[in-house]
Amino acid sequence: MSELMQFLLSGATVGAVYALVALGFTIIYNASDVVNFAQGEFVMLGGMTTVFAHAAGLPLPLAALVAVVATSALGVALNKLAIEPARGAPVVSLIIITIGASIFIRGAAQLVFDKQIHRFPAFTGDDPLHILGATILPQSLWVIGGALVVFVALWLFFTRTLTGRAVLATSNNRLAAQLVGINTNWVMTLSFALSAGIGALAGVLVTPITMTSYDVGIALALKGFAAAMLGGMGNPKGALVGGILLGLLESLTAGYLSSTYKDAAAFIVILGVLFFMPQGLFGRKSTDRV
């Protein structure tokens, strides 16, 4: 029993990391139909910037704030310089552009920062909390809590605010949104800033647990992408559920079956889900309009 509990807590921790990355994917996808493979680099930048700002003498909360703001600015720059000019390009071109952006950011990070592995202290200490015979680090609660807060905030944003609805309207029909007076360019800018900011926040939250270095982004992006697709691209609920589910799958497979093939199990489940639900668990059904 305590074993199962430990697997669940482990899965929830990892899953919350995936969910945070997946939520970032969702925002940009909603605004622009682009899957941004550089999302993982935002997470890396959040962690690395905090590390270096902290090392330069800033107190941790301020360093984290600097990281989130700076990464948001980079997100906006990415949109203006690479995504907007490529409007209407086919999916495969967009994949290459965002993967190119990811490689570019990684290359810049190894020059601006370094190639070492870094970490900063957990927010509220390292003494594990005991739950039903299992343990969890306080920082894991920060990550899980962060994922939930971001999810709720996004949900409120998309359903309760005018701006949020403007984002959704833009994703449904860009032209129609423009016709009713929505500034779709501004919506895009906002989405990239938000998404990059959430990615950086994820980096700040997870670094005490997972550590960070210039090249952690791509693995996170792949898992976050998989989680977002599992849940159904473009739906915050899907991102949250997909992320947590993926984390639980991995830890339960590692716990009960084989740690060697835990990632395989995750991908097999994704393939299975997509087979029966081609739009993911909570994805929008699309109908060909001809």
Partner: protein, 318 residues
């Protein structure tokens, strides 16, 4: 006789393969040339799948992995000649592509992307983890193809680099010939039709599911054979050959150069193979520049480098 685009492409390719060695200052250039040809071969499969049929795969390196490890394992465990191991790898890849493609090709865009990505990751995971068979992530030695010795017996002495340059060059020519044949054939036209409008293709009677599957299988065979050649040429292979970055590299080469055209895609393979070799003096900046090139080309030359450049030249000529 009027020169068709097909003949022209093949002539240009053949001339490039045959004549550039005249300018090679050292044996190292044969190696780079051979790498370009092998990459070009794997990219030709992407021309069919992505350039013609418009389908995205982020897992094609998985097939390269199957082809490569077939050449590493079949000669040792089954006593098969390495040349036959290439065929075996291609057959296994084709069967895998058929099995995997049937369910996943129903998916579209990014969903197809993630499903194919999953396949590629599964293959590289098996290659890494089944140590008893594959010797794990550190890689495995691959036997010699033996063709060079055969040529030597027949009186044609070639250095290892030279042999692989010409051998992979010939393979590339054959591969290009097949893809060019397809372009204007009924099947090629149907593939391009479903790229243009899947729904309209279906209403003119195109069995879209079957055709996508055929394109997927053929492109898998291309990736597999290229993987085999790479393994045999290096005499050593690691599971990296099936990794995600290799899948991305294949797609990027094709699309960057111009996935819709054979010459463009091979051109893309050449650029991306040469880039790290040229950038060695700026090793620190290699990643930065690679990323920048990928973004800039896709933003400013949507059809790929070669078609865009050609259009520029033609535009100036008129």
């Amino acid at each position: 006789m009027k020169l068709t685009p097909k003949t022209a492409t093949l002539l240009v390719l053949a001339a490039l393969i045959a004549l550039t060695p005249l300018f090679f200052p050292s044996g190292y250039y044969y190696r780079v040339g051979a790498l370009i040809f092998v990459n070009g071969l794997s990219v030709l499969g992407i021309v069919i799948l992505t350039g013609y049929a418009g389908q995205v795969s982020l897992g094609h390196a998985g097939f390269a992995g199957i082809g490569a490890y077939a050449c590493a394992l079949a000669p040792v465990h089954l006593g098969l000649h390495p040349a036959l191991a290439i065929v075996l790898g291609a057959v296994i890849s084709a069967i895998m592509a058929w099995l995997v493609g049937r369910p996943i090709l129903r998916l579209k865009g990014y969903y197809l992307g993630v499903a194919s990505l999953g396949f590629g990751i599964l293959v590289s995971m098996v290659l890494s983890n089944e140590r008893w068979l594959t010797k794990g992530p550190d890689g495995i030695e691959v036997p010699d193809l033996g063709l060079r010795d055969l040529l030597k017996d027949m009186g044609l002495k070639l250095a290892n680099g030279e042999f692989w340059y010409f051998f992979s060059g010939i393979c590339l020519l054959i591969g290009a010939w097949l893809v060019l044949n397809l372009y204007n054939s009924p099947t090629g036209r149907a593939l391009r039709a479903l790229h243009g409008s899947e729904i309209a293709a279906r209403t003119v009677g195109v069995d879209v599911a079957k055709l996508k599957l055929q394109a997927f299988v053929i492109s898998a065979v291309y990736a597999s054979v290229a993987g085999s050649l790479l393994a045999l040429m290096n005499k050593f292979v690691t599971p990296d050959v099936a990794g995600f970055m290799h899948s991305i590299e294949m797609v990027t080469m094709a699309v960057l150069g111009g996935a819709g055209s054979v010459l463009g895609a091979i051109f893309g393979a050449g650029i991306l193979t040469l880039l790290p070799q040229v950038l060695t003096v700026f090793a620190e900046y290699e990643q930065l520049m690679l990323g920048a090139v990928m973004m800039l080309v896709m933003i400013f030359m949507r059809d790929g480098l070669l078609p865009s450049v050609l259009r520029k030249i033609r535009g100036r000529g008129e």
